[in-house]
Amino acid sequence: MALTREQLAQRVAQEFKDGYYVNLGIGIPTLAANYVPEGVQVMLQSENGLLGMGQFPLEEEVDADLINAGKQTVTMVTGASIFSSAESFGMIRGGHVDLTVLGAFEVDCQGSIASYMIPGKLIKGMGGAMDLVAGADNIIVTMTHASKTGQSKLLAECTLPLTGKGCIKRVLTDLALLDIEDGKFILRERAPGVTVEEIAKLTEGELVIPDNVPEMAV
């Protein structure tokens, strides 16, 4: 069975290590904040200038001056700090954020990612995604493995305009966890009940299948 959104978020959260500063993109990455493992402390960075993002506010706590990068009202945890956008991207570009999780439309086996624009559709902009993929060393891309019509999104070469070139090393899809090394996808884990053959069929880029591909613990 393909992973649900919640299971994807759970698997992402298993990558959280104690003391990590983490930037979570909008959508499934944000959900991962609900599954921080026991005994692990992470600090969430929101690129609009907040380190130590907390949960959504109670009705009476809502503050128009306190939002996240998705423009949602949030709170701050104890020990939070506030800074400017330049400072925020300084810490991102400077490699100070330990883990970045974001979504994508396509990823290829060269480590390139397309996530911000589908030509001919509405133009919205890249926001902070280009800075995040260029600045972070440890990035997990979360996405569906294939389109609804069965078209692979793990390609030999991205077809959409790139968000970043050669910068992605790890992809978590609803079917599998894969690393990208030397121009190849390496299958590391499969979703419970999903076979290696099913994954191979839906992976267009070159795929290396190790002898043992364990099921994810979700």
Binding site: N48, R93, I123, A134
Partner: protein, 233 residues
């Protein structure tokens, strides 16, 4: 105005000298920390042909979205322009031009503009549409593109508290682009919620020194919320 006193008494005076076809840098992220009254004054004034650099372009009927209604903006330099139907309409009809700029690059372009750095190299955007036609250099095996600094004829920004000398404090995530935007404007106009007497603010707690501020005005703010998300008790 005398000495270092930056306080002006009307929004009209605050934007005196703003003319058609100028470049304006605006602080704010979404609708958070935007100079809402200065935007309204530009609308009232009817200045047109503006190039505006701001992370976002407001939403329909709010923030910079107000300046789209009378087609006052010629070009927008922004990282994200979703959630704005009028913007899309004018973009598709060719009445509005947009230069999509990665958020961190936009912030750094403003910072550089205010700090006398004409351009800088960044890995952001290399190998993407943003990097097209830009100089590329390799440092330690990584590719970087040359991005130029940004300066505005005017900056419009919002802070929380100021003293009369224009020393500023921001509040929570309403800080965002405001500090860099202020440094990058030839005439930096800042509206605040409260102006206090000089000497009241602790020098150690000032976020941005008044040297960057040319005009200061106290206003009242609606502070619209784009995505009101709450949890149940």
């Amino acid at each position: 105005m005398a000495g270092f006193d930056k306080v002006v008494n009307s929004y009209e005076e605050a934007l005196d000298g703003l003319e058609d076809n100028m470049t304006v840098i605006a602080g704010g992220f979404g609708l958070c920390g935007i100079p809402e009254n200065l935007i309204k004054e530009i609308k009232r004034k009817g200045t047109t042909g503006l190039t505006i650099a701001s992370n976002n372009a407001g939403v329909d009927g709010k923030g910079l979205g107000l300046l789209l209604e009378e087609k006052q903006i010629k070009k927008m330099i922004a990282s994200y322009v979703g959630e704005n139907a009028l913007f899309m309409e004018q973009l598709l009809s060719g009445e509005l031009e947009v230069e999509l700029t990665p958020q961190g690059t936009l912030a750094e372009k403003m910072r550089a503009g205010g700090a006398g750095i004409p351009a800088f190299f960044t890995a952001t955007g290399y190998g993407t549409p943003v990097g097209e036609d830009k100089e590329v250099r390799e440092y330690n095996g990584r590719h970087y593109i040359l991005e130029e600094a940004l300066q505005g004829d005017f900056t419009i920004a919002k802070a929380w508290k100021a003293d009369r000398f224009g020393n500023l404090m921001f509040r929570k995530t309403a800080r965002n682009f405001n500090p860099m935007a202020i440094t990058a404007g030839k005439i930096a106009v800042v509206e605040v919620e409260e102006i206090v007497e000089v000497g009241t603010l602790d020098p150690d707690e000032i976020h941005l020194p008044g040297i960057y501020v040319n005009r200061l005005i106290q206003g009242t703010f609606v502070k619209d919320i784009e995505q009101r998300t709450v949890r149940q008790a």
